[in-house]
């Protein structure tokens, strides 16, 4: 097994456990970390369970994952279908399947299942990325779970499936799609930021005239540029409609909070404002372990799950942020390194799936706490409290490590 990844995993989980304890610690009661009435105590159980999962993964034959890839994927889709019917509601999201008091979120395991299916398809014989049919199938594979999770109103987890585009990119898909997506997102945000949309239209017009004047004055080129500009202007006009009619009120508020949290620091801006106060008040070296007031006294919401990074920022300052972010970047680079040394396309693209999912969680979660992104409720891998998410990430990482450990058994197929 790759011991570098294992060490990084152990470090992240241990730091996560300590920070969960810090975020729920109450000076006046002085409970222990392993107190099962605290999130930290329960997280400790989840970590122990992860150990069992790791052992199980290593016992299973590596061929199991590729062989049963579609089956696992199908099973998860079935569970996701079941959730709206027999699921129980926790915190407004109907995302849990439960037996008694024990519940799991199938959506956390859907990422793993989808990664298997995507990799299996990419690894199949005669796979060609530049084929339109191939691309449609791949998008269908990620769209199915995404749509089902959307039905559970868990937009954050659904958005994670966008990260598979990175795998497609690595496996040869044209970057055009990514560029177009990024442009669309930029225009959407710009439209909301600029008070009068007429300025955007003027800017687009100026760019259009500039492009026509600078380049060759062929009729076809001028026509394409003009049509393009008109389409963008149309999109801008539609943003307002999408914002007010398609997005739900709580989603609108998240976007508003992202654009200007100071507009209503007690209402929709509360999370971001308090999160930034927590992180910002940590200064260079932090307030010290268990000394954070923002998190300990509940000013930061969801402080042991989605906003766990606030505890790191507040109690350990910029140094703590540096260490945490460095560990994540190191893990991501290590996973890419592992993926690249695989001998099968299945294993390699599975590696990229793991890297993409981790990266998406890492970037969106931390970006959200410092106001880079709107509040999207997804956990920080290994740090955030929660059994399902910890196990989901553990499975992803250790299946890759299992594939990597046995990579020489694979027949050369690339």
């Amino acid at each position: 097994m790759d011991w570098v990844s294992l060490m990084l995993f152990l470090l992240l989980v241990a730091l996560g456990e300590l920070n969960i304890f810090a975020s729920v610690y109450d000076d006046t009661v002085k409970q222990h970390l392993w107190n099962l009435s605290l999130n930290s105590g329960r997280q400790l159980l989840f970590i122990i369970a992860s150990g069992v999962i790791i052992i199980a993964i290593n016992i299973l034959d590596m061929r199991f994952y590729e062989t049963f890839g579609y089956l696992i994927y199908g099973l998860i889709l079935f569970l996701l279908l079941l959730v709206p019917v027999i699921g129980k509601e926790v915190g407004g999201n109907k995302a849990w399947l439960g037996i008694g008091s024990f519940g799991v979120q199938p959506s956390e395991f859907a990422k793993f299942a989808t990664a298997l299916a995507v990799s299996k398809y990419i690894g199949s014989i005669g796979f060609k990325m530049d084929n339109l049919r191939t691309q449609l199938i791949l998008f269908t594979i990620i769209a199915l779970p995404m749509g089902l999770i959307m039905l559970q109103k868990d937009t954050g987890t659904a958005l994670v499936f966008i990260s598979f585009i990175l795998v497609f990119f690595r496996e040869g898909m044209s970057p055009f799609l990514i560029v177009v997506g990024l442009c669309a997102a930029t225009i959407f945000i710009l439209t909301l930021l600029v008070p009068h949309q007429i300025y955007l239209h003027i800017a687009i017009g100026t760019i259009l005239v500039g492009l026509i004047a600078l380049g060759k004055k062929k009729f076809k080129r001028v026509l394409i540029l003009t049509i393009g500009a008109l389409i963008i202007s149309g999109v801008i006009e539609s943003v307002d409609y999408i914002f007010t009619h398609v997005l739900k009120p709580h989603q609108q508020n998240r976007v508003r909070a992202y654009i200007n949290p100071e507009a209503d620091p007690l209402g929709f801006g509360w999370n971001v404002t308090q999160s930034k106060i927590a992180i910002g008040s940590g200064r260079f070296s932090g307030k010290g372990f268990l000394q954070g007031t923002q998190t300990k006294f509940d000013f930061v919401p969801e402080q042991s799950t989605d906003f766990i990074f606030c505890t790191i920022g507040e109690e350990h300052g910029w140094l703590g942020s540096l260490i945490t972010i460095s560990l994540f970047v190191a893990l991501l680079l290590r996973i890419v390194f592992l993926a690249e040394r695989q001998k099968s396309r299945f294993s390699r693209s599975f590696g990229y799936c793991v890297a993409s999912i981790f990266f998406f969680h890492f970037a969106i979660n931390i970006g959200m706490t410092i106001g880079f992104f709107p509040v999207i409720g997804i956990p920080l891998p290994f740090f955030s409290y929660g059994g399902s998410s910890l196990w989901g990430f553990t499975i992803l990482l250790f299946v890759l490590l299992k594939l990597d450990a046995n990579r020489s058994e694979v027949l050369q197929r690339i």
Binding site: D27, R283, Q294, D298, W318
Partner: protein
């Protein structure tokens, strides 16, 4: 195929990490706002108001003390939706008033949603009990206890002054940053003069609290906490019984009584009529009553002993006599005709010597004295001669404490006016003037202006035969404090004490056989002088100054009763009753007391 894509992904991962760390560096290391914001979130500043110092009289009787009251404060951030009908019923206000309160709150300049802000001031004890039981239904509202002033008697209002919430102007001008919005501050009287000693120091306790406002232990184990320090007590020279008696005598009259202990300068009584009950301007009643009292046409807030400037009238003849004796322009044996063609006088005397002239308050005699004083023949020009004489006269008169602030420990003391040559140059627009233009100064009329406290200080100076201590209300700070050094220094006049003895002889005669006969007491030698100040078309002001006993004087007093006729009547009667009360502890002449209370002095 797909060459370089691995590197693009790797660079992307590193780039995102670096961008995060740069952004975090800005938020965490460069931007300092967040620490403050976090503190204002989690640290509760619990202010403990100090007890304001108590005020005692000379015999240890309590005059001013503190009584608890309760303010309602609000931290707007913590306010949740509440039952406004119940709130309004609890605090006896209408919904409109409640809305108005919130609007007014948000309009305040220093308003913050995160800090406790004064919402309702001074809930009465009854309200407090009722409110305390229901307050948990209104999160964000807190009760803050502090104290307000209370008074054992309705006396001495103007000298004590009042305490009320600091004004916006004062708050903005407070460079030492001592006060906060809603703090109480002494606004007048000794409450204002001794504000620094009385106020004490606020204590602060810093506590952690969570997002729901629930306390979570002390901040840094109380390292930054301070205990409130109570203000220092003041011991005054006031004799509370005498003060009450003086206010009783002045009831229904306008004017003042100032009583000084000559041997110390301590003020025994300071009566200003009309006055008001200081309890009316305390606590919750302040805001409604202040408007009423300050708009009263009788001016109860006008502290007459310090601020009313009157012409002194005939009591000034004592000063004229001593000045002339000092300059050697007369002797005690100098006699002059009572020539009523120059200036009016009462009948029944003529060709008196100095003592006789004082005893009978002979106006023409003092016209003559003043002429000799001003026109000493030091210049051939009658104009220049008067100018030289007036300058000498002014120097002597000022040395009695007239014409300038004495430095008493009360705000807003007035100067009075003793004219100088420069004053008349201005008044006559630099046209020439001489004795015949200004002779009414001779008998305390004309341009002279004197404040009642200066009259009392003057008679205390005579009692001391030549010096005074600055009159003062407070004798020591703290019950075991020492006398204040600025009040233990003797201020000597320019007059020899031998000349004072002549004045004392004459003043004894005034009471025993002259115009001040109503002030005569059994067994106590009272020395006094009457004054009847013209006040056409109204009745004259009645003035009397006195000290007693003649030897080893214990009390010096000035009484000024507006529009009450001759000085020998209202003022002399009141003065003698006060002397009796102070020296004997009781009065022996019910008919005089009755005469004063009835108040018909014609």
């Amino acid at each position: 195929m797909n060459e370089g894509r691995k590197e693009i992904v790797q660079i992307g991962f590193v780039l995102v990490g670096v961008v995060f760390l740069i952004k975090l560096f800005f938020i965490q290391v460069l931007d300092q706002r967040y620490v403050e914001l976090a503190n204002s979130n989690a640290i509760l500043r619990d202010v403990e108001y100090p007890f304001r110092g108590l005020i005692y009289d000379r015999n240890g009787k309590l005059i001013v003390y503190n009584t608890p009251e309760f303010d309602l404060k609000v931290i707007l951030k913590e306010v949740k939706k509440f039952d406004s009908a119940k709130f309004c019923a609890l605090f006896a206000m209408s919904r409109g008033e409640l809305r108005g309160k919130f609007r007014e709150l948000k309009a305040r300049k220093e308003f913050s949603k995160f800090k406790p802000t004064l919402f309702i001031t001074q809930l009465s004890n009854y309200d407090y009990a009722k409110v305390q039981d229901n307050l948990d239904e209104f999160p964000g509202f807190y009760i803050q206890a502090r104290t307000t002033r209370a008074y054992t008697t309705p006396a001495l209002a103007n000298a004590l002054g009042y305490v009320s919430e600091i004004s916006r102007d004062r708050l903005e001008g407070d460079e030492s940053n001592t006060y906060r919005q809603g703090d109480y501050i002494g606004q007048s009287g000794i409450e204002a003069f001794y504000e620094e000693q009385l106020r004490g120091e606020r204590g602060v306790r810093f506590k952690y609290r969570n997002v729901k406002g629930i306390e979570k232990g002390s901040f840094q184990n109380g390292a930054y906490d301070t205990v409130s320090v109570p203000g220092q007590d003041l011991v005054t020279g006031i004799d509370l019984d005498l003060q009450l008696y003086g206010e009783f005598l002045m009831k229904g009259k306008s004017g003042s009584i100032v009583v000084i202990e000559p041997s110390t300068g301590e003020i025994l009584s300071l009566v200003s009529g009309p006055s008001y009950d200081p309890n009316l301007l305390s606590g919750k009643r302040y805001s409604s009553n202040f408007v009423l009292i300050s708009n009263d046409t009788n001016k109860p807030l006008f502290n007459r002993p310090m601020m009313a400037q009157y012409r002194p009238g005939s009591i000034f003849k004592i000063a004229q006599a001593m000045t002339a004796l000092q300059e050697g322009v007369i002797t005690p044996e100098t006699r002059m005709r009572c020539d009523k063609t120059i200036i009016g006088c009462h009948p029944g005397h003529d060709n008196l010597d100095l003592r006789g002239a004082i005893t009978n308050s002979c106006n023409p005699y003092f016209h003559g004295v003043f002429r000799r004083m001003l026109n000493q023949g030091l210049s051939d020009s009658p104009f220049d001669d008067t100018r030289i004489g007036l300058a000498k006269w002014n120097k002597h008169i000022m040395s009695f404490g007239f014409g300038h602030k004495l430095g008493i420990d009360l705000p807003n003391e007035k100067d009075g006016l003793i004219p100088t040559p420069a004053y008349y140059d201005r008044a006559y627009s630099n046209r020439p003037w001489k004795f015949s233009n200004i002779y009414s100064l001779a008998i305390g009329e004309g341009e002279n202006l004197v404040v009642p406290i200066q009259m009392a200080n003057f008679v205390a100076t005579i009692a001391n035969r030549g010096f005074y201590y600055i009159p003062h209300i407070v004798k020591k700070i703290g019950r075991n404090g020492n006398p204040l050094p600025q009040y233990t220094e003797r201020h000597y006049t320019t007059i020899d004490s031998a000349n004072f003895r002549i004045a004392v002889d004459a003043m004894q005669q005034v009471v025993e056989t002259g115009t001040g006969a109503r002030a005569k007491l059994q067994d106590i030698i009272v020395c006094g002088k009457t004054g009847t100040v013209q006040n056409d078309p109204m009745p004259s002001h009645s003035v009397f100054i006195a000290f007693a006993p003649r030897y080893n004087p214990k009390i010096a007093i000035s009484v000024y009763v507006e529009d009450a006729g001759q000085g020998g009547r209202a003022a002399a009667s009141i003065a003698s009753l006060m002397i009796e009360k102070y020296l004997l502890g009781h009065t022996q002449r019910p008919y005089v007391e009755q005469y004063v209370i009835t108040g018909k002095f014609d």
